[in-house]
Amino acid sequence: MKSVITTVVTSADAAGRFPSSSDLESVQGSIQRAAARMEAAEKLGGNIDAVAKEAYDACIKKYPYLNDAGEANSTDTFKAKCHRDIKHYMRLIQYCLVVGGTGPLDEWGIAGSREVYRALNLPTPPYVEALSFARNRGCAPRDLSAQALTEYNALLDYAINSLS
């Protein structure tokens, strides 16, 4: 899993040297920025059900045709799966906040998603709408600090871009 620390260790190992002072400085920089990420991860982790539910409701509201017979949100089973998918994205974003990189989203969310959605005939615009809703829903300092919100929004943007 790619993070600042593993990247530093990988390059030091490739060169066969001990961690240098510049290696340690880049890890220190990452650690200093980590407090905001942890705050965002904590808030998101604690409220993931509500966040995912709101985002899901928002995308169904924007694309009501999904409720029609035969569409992706037509039955209770499908509804549960749609909701689960949104929650899945939010969970991966929480992982990214913990790790401090986009590794979890890249490896477990984005890689192969295009093929899966095409094979299952799922539309991506509702996903984009759900994530965009979450993107614009967070408010500093009401929900979390400004820095934490920036980290959170950046990852949502990343996920949105990967889908569009």
Partner: protein
Amino acid sequence: MLDAFSRAVVTADASTTCVNDLSALKSFIAEGNRRLDAVNAIASNASCMVSDAVAGMICENQGLIQAGGNCYPNRRMAACLRDGEIVLRYISYALLAGDASVLDDRCLNGLKETYAALGVPATSTVRAVQIMKAQAAAHIKDQPSEALAGNRLRKMGTPETGDRCASIVAEAGSYFDRVISALS
């Protein structure tokens, strides 16, 4: 390879939950500078630590440098010093990452079998690692023994903490113990 953060994520993903317990990671962040100082203490003193550990190992078992011993001739002694440095290097990576996966995957995996095939005595190797463990603890605490180090004494001069970084010393010790148990 994982670090403390990605380890938490991989563990949480196995049960499809969010990372709920962030307290360990928060203390990792809060004590980040201690960890970096500890890695720096090992990296800056590495060559001294390795040569002293190998010298100590040989002092206790002179047969190693007699004809037929595993540190005779120089070619084998050099290989021994090189291996000591490699082990210490991977321990420093593990300490930096806060996770033993890099040590396990890239250093210890198959090491015992390799040494068995090459006829490297495990007891001597373990002894050298034990010496490095004691040295690492002394350097991380920044309390290297003046009586034993003599004119080679080197203090890092890092800010002193109340408990002398006891948690980091214990963590570093656990990586040395991991090497020892992998070899024996």
